[in-house]
Symmetry: C2
Subunit: 363 residues, 2 copies
Amino acid sequence: MAEGEEVENKQVILKHYVRGSPKESDMEIRTGKTKLKLPEGSSGAIVVKNLYLSCDPYMRNRMSKVEGSYVESFTPGSPIVGYGVAEVLDSSHQNYKKGDLVWGMTTWEEYSVITSTEGLFKIQHTDVPLSYYTGILGMPGMTAYVGFFEVCSPKKGERVFISAASGAVGQLVGQIAKLFGCYVVGSAGSKEKVSTLRSSLHQFLLIPGGVDLLKNKFGFDEAFNYKEEADLNVALKRYFPDGIDIYFENVGGKMLDAVLLNMTPYGRIAACGMISQYNLEQPEGVQNLFCLVTKQIRMEGFLVFDYYHLYPKFLEMILPQIKEGKITYVEDIAEGLENAPSALIGLFSGRNIGKQLVAVTRG
Amino acid sequence: MAEGEEVENKQVILKHYVRGSPKESDMEIRTGKTKLKLPEGSSGAIVVKNLYLSCDPYMRNRMSKVEGSYVESFTPGSPIVGYGVAEVLDSSHQNYKKGDLVWGMTTWEEYSVITSTEGLFKIQHTDVPLSYYTGILGMPGMTAYVGFFEVCSPKKGERVFISAASGAVGQLVGQIAKLFGCYVVGSAGSKEKVSTLRSSLHQFLLIPGGVDLLKNKFGFDEAFNYKEEADLNVALKRYFPDGIDIYFENVGGKMLDAVLLNMTPYGRIAACGMISQYNLEQPEGVQNLFCLVTKQIRMEGFLVFDYYHLYPKFLEMILPQIKEGKITYVEDIAEGLENAPSALIGLFSGRNIGKQLVAVTRG
């Protein structure tokens, strides 16, 4: 390709701010043009080819007009921004050269010019699926790791409950909690669904979805489908007759209320997300907070951004576990940018099984 | 009084379990008989004359039929149990002798036989009002101290908000936070009311109630009457334009919801009580818990019982402050056991200004 030559660049555009449940029609695919070479005299920027894009729950907030939040709104009329895995095509930054692989903040399009490389990590280990850097080896993996070890202060033998447990974060929390020596129960939204998913090391497998996945593939002690339970309090009492010591909170609302009733004294709740609430104009009220007092519970919110200095330590722990097959990771991969909008909105109805991502291009 | 002679013993009886708001008629005064000498051969018990009885919010829970709570229900038909200050009249316990003063768990009656002395503290310092051992020098004082220093992890200059700030715990939290170097704002239920209250060192003073008390007597930087605010969020923004770093939570419900919107990143909430919720059949729902995640807030419930080993350290800190007039303490004293039921239920409508207690007998 000649220097300066323009190529087509497909993009996923947010058409307007979203209220309530996002729809595919809130986004559109647009094809623009871009150059794959930086202009002469550039400094600090890189051009990348995006390989995988990550669909993450926190992106829901960025689709709305938000003020004073920990994230900024997307810009209507512009492409969506998010985590991804990319290959460097051209570089004017001393730390990057053509052919390098990176993960971090990029744009939902085929090719991106990244001028601020502070949010990027260079990928050093390529003997695992590259897509894992949107999940287990990226932001969600770090979230699971620091949420469990840094926020929950776990002890061996403790009883751990994880909501949204087949998601990008939950599946890993459960597995590291099991390896650590805890009793682990997860809830998920689907029991019956059977999907074709790509599992570790690029194998394509036919995997039973949701609850079966938690028990049979991730080795959770128990799992249940919250949609099949008339009374979440009763369900939790069934799996935790002696109470929950640690709750890894991904959903909020009614589940949190039921969990509060079942926590043990001195229990810990790591508040990672509350995905059941993101599309509601008015969040559900949580009524059982007085349990925090009577049971001396610590409930703590956290954001992974504070903990990226632990990333090398995390990789050192997790890579051998993946290679030895002690930790597995399930991905739900949408093929092509055209399918990115539906993949993203599927997160909020619980359609995905495992980490939802988009393969921009194969090969 | 001859050994073995019986005397009249007035008692405050809980007539039945309470649902909703407690009423005076849920209790009754009954006069029984008791002996002021222990039987020969007694071991480990003491007989006390009760001097002051403490009205505390947690007692509301004990008036209901509760199961699996951190407190036990009172027994309908029997006298109420609670913190108090008492004088030892007879002792078969090696650690106590006639004339000793104690504070701790006793019964709402003139004279009590205490067979389990584990919950008692011997009073060593009598150059402060004895009634203080139901408040600033007793359980509420320790609650304020450990809640602020052990749970809130305060730093000088931080912005502290306290609800129910003229109550037994709140007034002390505010004063120790001020002495520690924080900006302190409190909310209370009453601005106009003027009460005759006994202040420190047995002076009787005419003190303006509620909000004025917080600013003028306790030295809070600001104070407001939550009943006069149409929008608590707006009120908090007025006093905390840069947000709240520490919230000492005594009330729950709508106030907690408004506080969550105004917390700063890495804020801490010490959940001490939620008095606004105790009489509700169905607690109010708290909707803004997602703020815990986005602002990385730690919300932690605590009970003072875990921290009594710090009591000597607390006394060492607080006694000089009281004697030097750097910390003051306002009490709302009901005279005589006959007035104990109305004093107790007044807590839940916010009728008291300062620590509510009952003087069983004078002199």
